[in-house]
Symmetry: C2
Subunit: 386 residues, 2 copies
C-alpha cells in the first residue's frame, strides 16, 4: 500500500505542476510541452529529487502516455489525404529529414564518436513537431494558407519517416552494432508492419467497432479503442519496433471508421492525464550535473545545425506555391518524436546522460525560437499577397 | 521495458474480457460487475494464473479504479438532498446496516472466531450496492416510484455509514486489536474528515474550479478533478482512513460546483478504463483451492443472513409510503463496498483466503438473486396502486 500511496502523491504533484506550467507557457505563446519538460527537470533527480525516473509505476504511466500520444496523432492523420499530399510537401519532408540527419551525424562523427552515437544524434534532429507551428498558424489565422498546407503535409510524412528511423535505431540497440542487413530488415519490417496493420485493420475495424458501439455495457468504446492501441503497440514491440509505431497505426485505422469522432472525444480526457507523464519523465531523465561548460559549444553548434537544416527544407517547395522561408521556419520545432529518440537512446545505453541533456536542450530551444520568428514572416507574406 | 510490456498485455486482456463479460451479464439483466468478478476469478491464480494479484502496476491501477469509483459515487450524491432525505430512508438505512452487522458478527462469533474476524464478516454484509437496484428500477421505469425514492435515499446514507465502518476496520487493522478507544477515535476521525473536507472544500472549490475551467491549456479540468480526488484520498490515508473515504468526499464537494456536468463527462471514460481493474483484481484474489466442501454450509448460512437482514430493513419504511417488501428486496444487493471491506481484510491479514472467497461468493449471490425477484414485486405493487 505504501508504494501505491507514494505513487499517488507523485502523480498528483505531476498533474498539478504540469498543467500550471503548461498554462504559464501558453500564456507566453509557447508550447505547453516546454513547460512540462522544465517541470520534469525541476522535479527530477538533478534538482528537487522528487521524481525517480526508475520508478516502475511512473515508467508505466509515461509509456502509456506516449502510446496514447501517437494514437491521437494517428487518429488525426487521414490516410487518403496523406497519400494525396502534394510533391511540395513531399520534397520538404525528405529534405527536412535528410539534411538534419546527415549534418547531425557528420558533426558527431567529426568529433570522434562511434557510428551508433552519431546516427542517434542525427536521427534525433530529424522529426519536426508540428504542434507548435499549428498553434502559431492558428493564432494568426494562417492554418489554411499555402505555407500552412505545405507544412502540415510535410509534417505527416516526416512523422512516418521518423517512425521508420526509430525502428532502425531500436533494432540497432537490440543487435548492439550498426549492420546494413539489420537496418534494411528493420526498414522493411516497419513499412510492412504499417502497411499490413492498417490494411487488415481497415478491412475489419468498421465491423468490430460497429459492434462495440452497439454494446450496452458502459465504457465499451473507450476500452476497445485503448485495447486496440495497446495490442498494436505490443505487436510492434514483439517484432522489434517501437511501441508507438503500433499505436500510431491503430490511430490511422480508427480514423477511417465512422466512430472516429466518438473515439477522439472519449480518448481526450484519458490522454490529458497520461501524456504529461511522458514529458515530465523525459524532463526528469535530464541530469543537469552531467552538463559542464564544455557542453555549451556543442549545444550551440547542434542548435545551429537544427535550425539551418530545417530552414533549407523550405526550398523543397516551389517558389510560386508558398513562401520558402515561411515553410522552412515552420518546420524547425522539434518535440515528442525527438524526445522519444533521445529517451530510447538513453535507456538503451547508447547515448550518455550528458548527450541526453544536450539533445533535450536543443529540442526545447528549437521550439522556443520558432513562434517569434514565424509570426512576422508569415504576416509579411500575407501583406505581399494583398 | 519487459515489465511494462508485460503489464500492457495484461491490461489489454483485462479490458477486453471485462467488457465482453459485462456485456454478456447485462444481456441477461445482471450486473456487469458480476461478470468482471467472474473474469477475475478465471484469470486469477486459482484457475488460469494469468493475473498475479501482487503485481505492483496492476495493484496501482486497481487502487486508482476504486478511488475513481467512489469519486463518481460522490459526484452523483447531492449533499443537500442527502440532508433532506426522509425519515423512512433513514430508518431503512440504519436497520439495513445494524441487522446484517449483528447477525454476521454473531454467527462468526458463535462459530468460535476472534472478535476481529467476526466484526469484519458483519461489516462486509452491511453495505448495499444500489447500482443493481437502480438498473432494475430503470428497466421497469420505477426509479421515481415511492420504493425507488426510499431505496435511493437509504443507499446514500448506507454508503456513508459504510465508509465510517470501513474507517473503524482500517484502524483496527493498524492497531492489531479491537479497542473501544480506537473505534471511538476512528469514528470521530471519519466523521470529522467528511464534515471538514466537504465544508472547506465547498467554500473554495467553486473559485478554484472556475479558474481551472478558464485555463487555456488542454486537460486542465480533468487533471484538477483527478488531482483533487487523489489529494483527499491520500489525506484520508494519512489520518488512518481508507483512501475511498477521501475520494468520495472529493466527489461530494465537486458535485456542488457549476462545473459538475463537465467533470462527470470527462471523468467517465477515465473511470471506464480503471474501475474494471478493481473488480477484476478483487476476483483474482479469490482462491478457489482454499474453498472446500465444508465452506458450502457457511456460504449458505451467510447468504440467508445477508438476504433476511436486508429484507427486514424494508419494515423501517411506513406502510403507507411504499411497499415494505419492495424496499427490503431493493436493499439486498451488495457490491463494491462489501468487496472493498473483504479485500482490505484479506490484505491486512485479518481474514483468510477461504473466508475471502466465501464473502465474495455471498456478495455475488445477493446481486444475482435480486433482479428476478424485485421485478415482479414492484410490478405487482404498481398494479395495486392503479
Amino acid at each position: 500500500m505504501e508504494l501505491i500511496i507514494d505513487a499517488l502523491v507523485r502523480v498528483v504533484i505531476i498533474l498539478i505542476t504540469a498543467k500550471l506550467a503548461g498554462e504559464l507557457f501558453e500564456k507566453f505563446r509557447q508550447s505547453a510541452v516546454l513547460g512540462e519538460l522544465l517541470v520534469g527537470v525541476l522535479l527530477g533527480p538533478s534538482l528537487l529529487g522528487f521524481i525517480d525516473p526508475t520508478n516502475e509505476i511512473l515508467k508505466f504511466l509515461a509509456e502509456v502516455g506516449v502510446i496514447l500520444l501517437l494514437f491521437e496523432v494517428g487518429l488525426e492523420s487521414n490516410l487518403v489525404k496523406m497519400l494525396k499530399v502534394g510533391w511540395n510537401s513531399f520534397r520538404v519532408a525528405i529534405i527536412g529529414v535528410l539534411i538534419p540527419f546527415i549534418l547531425g551525424w557528420a558533426y558527431y562523427h567529426f568529433m570522434g564518436h562511434t557510428l551508433m552515437v552519431s546516427l542517434f544524434v542525427g536521427a534525433t534532429l530529424t522529426a519536426t513537431s508540428v504542434g507548435v507551428t499549428i498553434r502559431v498558424l492558428g493564432d494568426i489565422k494562417k492554418v489554411d494558407s499555402p505555407e500552412g498546407r505545405v507544412i502540415l503535409g510535410a509534417a505527416v510524412i516526416d512523422d512516418i519517416i521518423g517512425l521508420i528511423i526509430l525502428s532502425v535505431l531500436v533494432s540497432m540497440i537490440q543487435v548492439g552494432s550498426v549492420q546494413v542487413s539489420v537496418i534494411a530488415r528493420s526498414i522493411v519490417f516497419a513499412m510492412l508492419f504499417l502497411v499490413l496493420t492498417t490494411w487488415i485493420g481497415i478491412r475489419y475495424a468498421e465491423t468490430i467497432f460497429k459492434y462495440v458501439h452497439s454494446m450496452q455495457v458502459r465504457g465499451a468504446l473507450i476500452s476497445a479503442s485503448v485495447a486496440f492501441a495497446f495490442i498494436l503497440a505490443v505487436l510492434a514491440n514483439l517484432i522489434g519496433l517501437a511501441t508507438i509505431v503500433g499505436s500510431f497505426a491503430a490511430g490511422l485505422v480508427l480514423e477511417t471508421t465512422e466512430r472516429k469522432e466518438h473515439i477522439i472525444r472519449r480518448i481526450a480526457p484519458v490522454s490529458d492525464l497520461f501524456v504529461p507523464m511522458f514529458f515530465i519523465m523525459a524532463g526528469a531523465h535530464t541530469d543537469l550535473h552531467s552538463l559542464s561548460l564544455r557542453a555549451l559549444p556543442i549545444i550551440g553548434i547542434l542548435f545551429v545545425i537544427a535550425i539551418i537544416s530545417k530552414l533549407v527544407s523550405g526550398w523543397g517547395c516551389q517558389k510560386k506555391v508558398a513562401s520558402r522561408l515561411g515553410v522552412g521556419i515552420g518546420m524547425i520545432p522539434r518535440g515528442e518524436v525527438g524526445l522519444i529518440f533521445a529517451t530510447i537512446g538513453l535507456s538503451g545505453g547508447i547515448i550518455s546522460a550528458e548527450l541526453y541533456g544536450i539533445l533535450v536542450i536543443v529540442i526545447m530551444a528549437t521550439t522556443l525560437v520558432t513562434p517569434p520568428v514565424l509570426r512576422p514572416v508569415l504576416l509579411a507574406q500575407g501583406k505581399k499577397e494583398v
